[in-house]
């Protein structure tokens, strides 16, 4: 399966020298990945801080809409550009603990993000109306505040491996 990904026509295209843009295709994919994860993670940090009580004069319901639009669109781009960077080095990277660590933390952080989104859809107007945000949800917001930066740092350490192995 991994070998099939790595040997696929797409992977070959991404690393081939024939395509003029490929000399920089890694750089371009990385840049788009960076812009997209910045938008996604930044938006998630903003709503997490709001749930923890920063900026009480801002409506949670009204803030949630642009935040989750930005976060999910950003994440879709992150996923595509991430997969395109993964494909050409699939066999080397898949078994690395740093890669698995990144995916593990990412999965937990994503599950929390879905949970926060669902909770906001159901209760945001009530919180804006004066009801207090439940402690359990604030703990999830705090976790999200810690986990997304962890994803970035683990991803950077994984990148150090990829560079050292000259993949």
């Amino acid at each position: 399966m991994l070998e099939a990904i790595q040997n696929s026509a797409l992977s070959q295209l991404l690393v081939s020298e024939r395509w003029v843009i490929t000399a920089n295709s890694k750089q371009i994919l990385e840049t788009v990945h960076f812009v997209a994860f910045a938008l996604q993670i930044g938006a998630v940090m903003v709503i997490s801080l709001r749930l923890l009580g920063v900026g009480r004069s801002v409506s949670i319901a009204a803030l949630g809409r642009p935040v989750f639009w930005t976060a999910w669109l950003g994440f879709a781009v992150v996923l595509v550009t991430g997969a395109l960077q993964f494909a050409p080095i699939a066999t080397e990277v898949f078994y690395r603990p740093s890669f698995r660590g990144k995916i593990a933390v990412l999965t937990v952080a994503l599950a929390i993000l879905v949970w926060l989104h669902v909770a906001l859809r159901r209760k945001a107007s009530a919180w804006d109306g004066g009801e207090t945000v439940p402690r359990s949800l604030q703990i999830l917001a705090g976790l999200s505040l810690a986990l997304w930066p962890t994803v970035i740092v683990v991803a950077r350490l994984m990148y150090a491996f990829v560079q050292m192995a000259d993949l």
């Binding site: 993670i41 930044g42 009204a62 803030l63 642009p66 740092v153 050292m164």
Partner: protein
């Protein structure tokens, strides 16, 4: 002959790149990678919060009061910018001589200055009177154009920053060996 070819100019940056701080960052395992991780956290928090304000200024999410939202988001983006500046200087030091003669570095600093000037222009032209228009969906044209410039400029800064990463000095392989830490 440009100033970055000047011997006295390059000597200053070469000395910085050979100094104790640069050596420490280069030789401490994972110091550089961790600093870069911190810088990227700063990028995410800064650009994410700035982008949300830009969306509001463009008239999306118009249920939000622009003034209250802007004040809230500034409390997030300003500390993030401080984090970016501090980690950015520390990332600059070990490759100071390379960056100080690199067109990509100058382009990034130029774009950064443009972002700062845009923020200043927005502050003077629109933000000072935000309590007058903050509830309206249709924001002043000055605010809308500042929002468009802001998105374009910060994406440019991120792109040039990523490209700078390809110009940095690599740490000695023996001192930064992820194979030993992340071995199977």
């Amino acid at each position: 002959m440009s100033f970055w070819d000047d011997a006295a100019y390059t000597a200053v940056w070469q000395e910085l790149a050979r100094g104790d701080l640069a050596t420490w960052i280069q030789l401490t395992p994972y110091a550089y990678a961790t600093l870069e991780g911190i810088h990227l956290i700063g990028v995410a928090v800064f650009f994410g919060s700035v982008f949300l304000l830009d969306l509001r200024l463009l008239g999306l999410a118009s249920q939000l009061h622009a003034g209250a939202t802007g004040r809230f988001l500034l409390r997030i983006s300003v500390p993030a910018f401080v984090l970016l500046a501090v980690s950015g200087v520390l990332l600059f030091v070990p490759s100071a001589d390379r960056y100080a003669t690199s067109p990509i570095f100058f382009a990034k600093m130029g774009a950064l200055a443009a972002g700062g000037l845009n923020a200043l222009a927005f502050h003077i032209a629109a933000w000072r009177r935000v309590d007058d228009w903050g509830r309206r969906a249709r924001t002043p044209w000055t605010a809308r154009s500042a929002a468009v410039v802001s998105v374009l400029v910060w994406i440019t800064v991120i792109a040039l920053g990523r490209w700078m990463g390809y110009e940095r000095r690599e740490p000695p392989a023996s001192d930064l060996d992820p194979l030993s830490l992340f071995g199977p």
